[in-house]
């Protein structure tokens, strides 16, 4: 009320108003509670301030008790008044005071001839001392190494969403060709080979046969590779042991070791090899710690990446995201059991029906929804701290790579580019 009353005048005559306020204030202070008592007895009065420059003794005073009381109780009338502030109050933004004590372990993937292998490149991930993009400057701390994206290849034809199949249909019966397409056509940085046909419930391909596929793929492409099993703990164990024999020197990633395996056998066996392990746990931080702890007994930390398990938007990403974010924050705050780089199986995004199902036209073609789902899921994982991505759709991978570019090199924004979005025709 009072605010409204006064601010209307302020807009027009700020200075006059200031004086007026002061007058009213002084008046109130002057008259004080005594007058108030009198007024309560005698009823209505009214103040009419005809002009701010008039003298106090020229005022005809008729005071309304409620108004006066407010004046008495609120001495800071001036502050309560509208834009009493007439100049900008210069304020500096101070970057937050963050203290992170932990550092993520650096892991090398793949080996070039000079590193003792046959790959044409190798990668390092990890090394972070801060969550991603938490500060404006300091790329080195936030993302000291570029996150790496591996493309999925399977050792048999599997049902795939149309929008992915489109890119690989002719090569899906030949994993080596499939891998070649990923590298030559879609510039895959790494290949993530899945030997799913070894699953006793699928084809039960013997381990000896399956490792030939690994050799074929390593021949066909020269990027570093990851080899995954079927998820059957016993079979995977057998498989990984054989793989570790044939790929020694290449720093191949084994995808994955988990708590259901006899770690005393498998981890012990590969102790003196050079393969890297992905330690998988199902969205459970305690288990992630437990598995890392167990692995530390056999392997140097530089050979362990952890996969805390992720899911697509709408299909459990809330869990996946929070577990990953918690893991990374805890690691950076000093939890040594979680300081491994993080792998994210973003391909899981395709489990979302919204990514592959034909829906009502309102929701647009699945050819867009699919890659959009995978890309969005990848970005969310990136912001949670993922270092190594396993993905499928070429366009999703291309987009994620672009965004990683944008985030890694700081180029200052150009305010003019968006300043007047409000007044622009946008089409």
């Amino acid at each position: 009320m009072l605010k409204e009353l006064l601010s209307g005048v302020v807009a027009v005559e700020k200075d006059k108003e200031k004086i007026k306020n002061k007058l009213m204030n002084d008046l109130a202070n002057l008259l004080g509670n005594k007058l108030l008592e009198v007024l309560e007895k005698h009823g209505e009065f009214e103040i009419v301030l005809e002009d701010a420059v008039i003298e106090v003794d020229e005022l005809r005073i008729l005071i309304q008790p409620s108004l006066l009381r407010r004046m008495v109780e609120v001495p800071a009338v001036e502050e309560a008044v509208g834009m009493a502030v007439t100049e900008l109050i210069e304020t500096k933004f101070a970057e937050p005071e963050m203290k992170w004590d932990g550092k993520i372990v650096e892991v090398n993937m793949g080996a070039t001839p000079s590193e003792g292998g046959t790959r044409d490149r190798s990668f390092t991930i990890g090394g972070e001392t801060m969550p991603p993009i938490y500060r404006l400057l300091g790329v080195e701390e936030a993302m000291p190494h570029r996150p790496v994206i591996a493309m999925d290849v399977f050792d048999m034809r599997i049902p795939l969403p149309k929008s992915i199949k489109l890119h690989f249909d002719e090569v899906m019966d030949d994993p080596a060709e499939w891998a070649k397409r990923c590298v030559n056509k879609y510039h895959a940085e790494m290949i993530n080979l899945h030997l799913i046909s070894t699953d006793p419930y699928i084809k039960d391909t013997p381990a000896n046969e399956a490792i030939k596929v690994v050799e074929d793929v390593m021949q066909a492409v020269k990027v570093p590779i990851t080899v995954g099993g079927s998820g059957n703990p016993e079979k995977d164990q057998e498989l990984f042991i054989k793989i570790s024999d044939i790929v020694d020197g290449e720093k191949v990633l084994l995808n994955s070791l988990n708590l259901d395996m006899k770690l005393e056998d498998i981890a012990e066996y590969i102790r003196n090899k050079d393969c890297i392990v992905i330690a998988f746990t199902p969205m459970d931080l305690d288990k992630a710690r437990e598995l890392n702890r167990k692995l530390f007994d056999y392997l140097p930390r530089e050979r362990i990446i952890m996969d805390t398990n992720t899911a697509g938007i709408g299909y459990g990403l809330d869990y996946g995201f929070s577990v990953m974010e918690r893991a990374r924050l805890a690691a950076l705050m000093g939890d040594k059991e979680l300081q491994q780089p993080i792998a994210a199986g973003v391909t899981n995004a395709w489990a979302a029906r919204e990514a592959w199902l034909k829906m009502d036209v309102f929701w647009g073609p699945r050819e867009i929804r699919g890659p959009l789902w995978e890309t969005s899921t990848a970005l969310i994982n990136l912001l949670a701290g993922a270092d190594y991505f396993m993905m499928m759709h070429p366009f999703s991978i291309e987009t994620l790579n672009k965004i990683i570019d944008y985030l890694m090199r700081f180029s200052p924004p150009d305010p003019g580019a968006i300043m007047d979005w409000v007044g622009s025709e946008l089409g």
Partner: protein, 478 residues
């Protein structure tokens, strides 16, 4: 440092401690516990709200329970939307509170038909997800003409054709004032005060008690200067827009600025940073070159990133359903309470009208799994029993490797529900994704296992082709 839970004792000490039960709780202590868990509101304790003698106590309690990010209301005569009101930076520390509303723009150069189309889009956008309806929330009217009369007309037209709350967007105070003049009973959000118009815009916000965005793209010192100035001038409902830059120049600036502001609000108790953050993925339409699809693609990705990085409201432009689908679903995910898994109770559900020879199917108790499977079975008009086993609210594909889809759990449900008395056969159809557990499930339950389809949408087809208990018993010799 980060969120520290308030102790219920602290709250209890401030409450009236009369145990009058008006709040619906047994006593003040029980109410205090619910308050700190955010399961109830102060308003439920009528004595502390109504009685004068508790005025001080109420102030103290409000201060104690106030969020790190100010909560602001945007209203139309019929709807209220709250933005901000967050207590924590990371959802796992507690939970996020007010899902960031999504606004779609209208500009004052658009034809009436086009405006109506956009209003309809927002009002009718609806996606059903685990039994909830996901929607869009409000409209942002932009002055492209820069003509007060034109803006006023359009604002009037929109407000007559929708009950949704509004954001008025212009940097010209005269235009803003004209728009406001036709919204006497609303509380629109004013977008925006800048370093050039802050006096007049601030005046409008103050005079009409309206929430206002301060906007300073790419210049965070000026953003803080504006927020500080307006708050000192007596405006309490302020929101911050540090600029949404899409693409190579500025994406990093935007994400780190949003993050730093929220960090300061939550961890350093910085009041100026503790205002809601406004994200404008709509700027993709200015910054991204090329086809419309390209602009929409980046607009959506920007929205997803900004949601993840603390934006409390999003303004967007696309009119395609696909642009918003991942955004509304991710928003739902992000704002679910991580303290409670999105799960349904284990047990047996009957779908349709199952008989003694109807199929028995198994699934997990993740709410989404259950609702999808249920929908698919229903739409295929399959009568069956659905066994929901406790996977701790985790989806089947994760529960299987995670050892949460347990044969023992299934056996437990079969036993307690006495399903063996309801059906004559002994066949369980399990999800294709749990195929590798077939043997274990057979051993533990004593029922024969049939591996069902990978995806529940194929259940009706699967049942019509494969389900024939008589034939099955011939094969399996039951």
């Amino acid at each position: 440092m980060p969120w520290k839970a308030i102790s219920p004792i602290e709250v209890y000490k401030i409450l009236p401690r009369t145990n009058c039960k008006e709040c619906g709780e047994e006593n003040c202590m029980a109410f205090a516990v619910k308050l700190v868990n955010m399961e109830t509101k102060i308003e439920k304790c009528t004595p502390i709200i109504k009685e004068d003698k508790y005025k001080k106590a109420l102030e103290k309690l409000t201060e104690l329970l106030s969020p790190q990010v100010r909560e602001i209301e945007i209203r139309s005569p019929k709807k209220t939307i709250k933005i901000g009101g967050e207590y924590v930076m990371h959802r796992h520390e507690l939970t996020y509170i007010n899902p960031a509303p999504i606004a779609i723009d209208i500009d004052d150069n658009m034809s009436k038909d086009e405006i109506v189309k956009r209003i309809d889009f927002v009002e009718h956008f609806e996606y059903e997800y685990i039994g909830r309806k996901l929607n869009l929330d409000l409209l942002a009217i932009r002055s492209v003409s820069n003509d007060p009369n034109k803006f006023k007309e359009v604002v009037k037209f929109v407000s007559e054709n929708t009950s949704l709350p509004l954001i008025l967007c212009t940097f010209n105070p005269k235009v803003m004032e004209a728009g406001l003049s036709v919204l006497p009973d609303s509380r629109p959000l004013l977008y925006a005060a800048t370093k050039d118009n802050w006096r007049e815009m601030g005046e409008l916000a103050l005079k009409n008690d309206l929430p206002i965005v301060v906007y300073s793209p790419g210049d965070i010192d000026t953003l803080m200067t504006l927020a500080n100035t307006l708050s000192k001038a007596g405006i309490s409902d302020i929101a911050l827009d540090p600029g949404t830059f899409v693409g190579p120049n500025g994406l990093r600036y935007t994400l780190s600025t949003f993050t730093m502001l929220r960090w300061k609000a939550c961890n350093e108790d910085d009041k100026l940073a503790g205002y809601p953050l406004i994200g404008t993925p709509i700027t993709a339409w200015k910054m991204i070159e090329g086809e419309k699809d390209q602009k929409m693609w980046w607009e959506t990705l920007m929205a997803v990133m900004l949601l993840t990085r603390y934006s409390n409201l999003l303004i967007m432009h696309s009119l395609e359903g696909w642009s918003y689908l991942p955004v509304v679903m991710w928003r739902f995910n992000l704002y679910t309470d991580p303290r409670r898994p999105v799960a349904v109770d284990p047990g047996v559900r009957t779908i349709g009208d199952p008989k003694e020879d109807s199929p028995v199917m198994v699934t997990g108790n993740y709410a989404l799994t259950y609702s999808l499977v249920g929908m698919d079975i229903q739409s295929g008009k399959v009568d069956c029993y659905l066994v929901i086993t406790d996977t701790e609210g985790i989806a089947v594909e994760c529960a299987v490797p995670g050892r949460k889809f347990l044969p023992e759990g299934i056996a437990e449900v079969l036993k307690t529900s006495k399903l063996d008395e309801k059906v004559k056969h002994r066949y369980l159809i399990i999800p294709g994704k749990a195929a590798r557990l077939s043997g274990d499930i057979e051993d533990v339950t004593g029922w024969k296992v049939i591996v069902g389809p990978q995806d529940s949408k194929d259940i009706p087809k699967f049942v019509s082709e494969k389900w024939d208990p008589k034939k099955l018993s011939e094969i399996y010799g039951n």
